[in-house]
Subunit: 369 residues, 2 copies
């Protein structure tokens, strides 16, 4: 494998703490598997903004673009108004680098605590394919009579057929990819007899968003026709939130809009044992620009600096990065090590009910590699 | 009390089954408490649409407007395309009758099954004040290049200062109303020392919806200043979905947009034991047009006609109707009867793990009155 250039944005709050641990795991697995890489650190986030007023200077963005992949810790700072860092860094990179898929696996590792009564690792193993470049996230909107009693504020969801279709296609391909692990357990005998092995559920709100989600529904039906081995399904977003809690075993691959994906993946994080375990990839599958991997959790200012943030989400995001660059055996090795530590029941950070530090958990994963 | 004119829309699927039981409870409590009312039935829903092509003729709407309140079972039919009945009946009435508040209590009765480990009735007692006349629900949007590979579909959230402000004010007033039951348990000692007795949390996405939710945030802060006894809080919608599951005891009153309210109240229904227990009121607090009360569940075509739908949501919605017309003692009587039946552990419909029929549960509540 050729030299991998990794841009690293540790960011704010617990971001640097968990990123450092993630990089330690990467170092060990790379040595073992003969992966060669170099790290390109970036000082971006709330601290820099407050110090210099800069959010994401063009020069930084150009250097980031020259990387193969990006590892991000977290951006977000209590001293910075809402939206500045999110829109200025995180969403800007997602959009400018055409990271049009936000891939968020929701899988309960044995040993991780699931707050839902009676559900276990066999029930919780889905992946959410969140559209990542459109919808309400485009920033389209405005005010009239701002600041007066007559003020009106609008915000517009923009959905394009190509943008929606590539996302749906990605989801169906992902379902096929999962077929290697066997048929989806939620399929009925009749489904299997009909030739289905996996399932994709579109989550939207067709009965209310009759423009945006009419486009989604038509695109979904047309793409589904190309995948006779994948069972297509539909669920309203409100029902989905309910069913993710009461019947997580109903889900295999979920494909959804940017906004709804944001919402349901936080719920997904709960199912898999909390934010401390939720990894994600902002993918540009065409590789015309770098993809970016980040834990779903934010900068968590309340626990920043205490050394107790759970590093597993950052570690699992590093594994997703390795998947993306084709080093799946190394990625699997990391996931197995995480699984071993969780199954052992210790060490655990406080979010999982333990007393261990970020570094102790990182070391345990390292030792389990 | 003067004669109450109640419009009744049993609707589709299980709607008629649960509405009939709700009316039976109303009859008994009215007799006992000396309430006089007359019922005005309306044949609206999927069956009528499929039979006649009519959704909501003007004459029906005029007759509905002449009622004091409306009881709705459910509208929704597998044979009707998505949106037709929802937009043609449910949303049309919510909008045309200026039912600008969708009030959805989330309260776990002792004996009702909560799927979240370690949480009980003491932890789950909140109310969601959902804005009900604006946001993505207004139906603003359109297509260009429809049906082609270049298609674009947009959908716009419209938010007005008066619409948002009246909703937020309603939430703060609701919080004050809850002070009669004692201070909110989730307040810290410092909060109480600071004079707070109750709490309102705004749930939005200010860091992404920087137009629509900037208006919401400003309106919220300004209204909050008028309520020094109510602690104002803010949570992003994604974090809220997580926290409703992991920390429901953090919430007292939630105020949110139409779309986010739709989503989080399905999650709220789960917390309180499922859709079979979730009641709601579409309120026009100015009483310039009738308010409408309905179970949060839909027409449930899969169990329609079997006589096993849980009638408790419809019964509790009837109680909310009585609250609205000032008959709170009667409403409380109904809620106590429901509480008694749930605490007894039987009879229960299948959704709660029992084997009883809709009518049996209704009779039990009737006997407990
Ligand atoms: C920080 C925020 C802009 C972001 C989002 O809404 O996408 C976050 O919630 C996420 O899910 O990655
Ligand atoms: C049926 C649908 C239009 C409705 C909504 O989205 O408001 C329902 O989900 C609800 O919550 O009452």
């Amino acid at each position: 494998m050729s030299l991998l250039k990794i841009g690293v944005i540790p960011g704010d709050g617990v971001g640097p703490e968990v990123t450092e641990v993630g990089l330690g795991i990467l170092e060990k697995v790379a040595k073992r598997d003969g992966l060669v890489y170099e790290l390109h650190p970036f000082d971006l986030g709330g601290e820099r903004f407050l110090r210099t007023g800069e959010v994401l200077p063009q020069a930084d963005q150009d250097r980031l673009r020259a990387c193969d992949v990006i590892l991000l810790g977290a951006v977000g700072h209590p001293g910075v108004p809402p939206g500045v860092l999110e829109k200025g860094i995180l969403l800007k990179l997602r959009f400018d680098f055409h990271q049009y898929i936000n891939l968020r696996p929701v899988r309960l590792f044995p040993g991780a605590p699931c707050p839902v009564t009676g559900k276990g690792p066999d029930d919780i193993d889905m992946v959410v394919v969140r559209e990542n470049n459109e919808d309400l996230y485009v920033g389209a909107g405005g005010f009239t009579y701002k600041g007066t009693p007559e003020e009106v504020a609008i915000q517009t969801s923009i959905n394009t057929r190509p943008g929606v279709e590539r996302c749906i296609r990605y989801a169906f391909d992902a379902a096929r990819g999962r077929a290697a692990r066997g048929a989806f357990k939620g399929l009925s005998e009749a489904d299997k007899a009909g030739g289905y092995t996996r399932q994709v559920t579109l989550v939207a709100k067709t009965n209310v968003l009759t423009f945006a989600h009419d486009l989604w529904m038509r695109a979904f039906n047309e793409v589904a026709a190309d995948y006779p081995d994948v069972k297509p399904g539909y669920m309203h977003v409100d029902a989905c939130c309910m069913r993710m809690v009461t019947n997580p075993e109903w889900f295999d691959v979920i494909v959804t809009t940017n906004m709804f994906g944001d919402i349901i993946t936080d719920l997904g994080a709960v199912l898999q044992g909390g934010m401390g375990l939720a990894a994600s990839g902002n993918l540009n599958p065409t590789k015309t620009a770098p993809s970016m991997f980040e834990p779903v959790h934010g900068s968590a200012p309340d626990i920043a600096g205490k050394g107790i943030a759970n590093p597993l989400a950052a570690i699992l995001s590093t594994a997703m990065m390795l998947d993306h660059v084709g080093a799946t055996p190394s990625a699997d090795r990391i996931r197995r090590a995480v699984a071993r530590v969780l199954a052992a029941g210790a060490p655990k950070t406080p979010d999982l009910g333990g007393k261990a530090s970020t570094v102790e958990v990182g070391n345990a994963v390292r030792d389990a590699l």
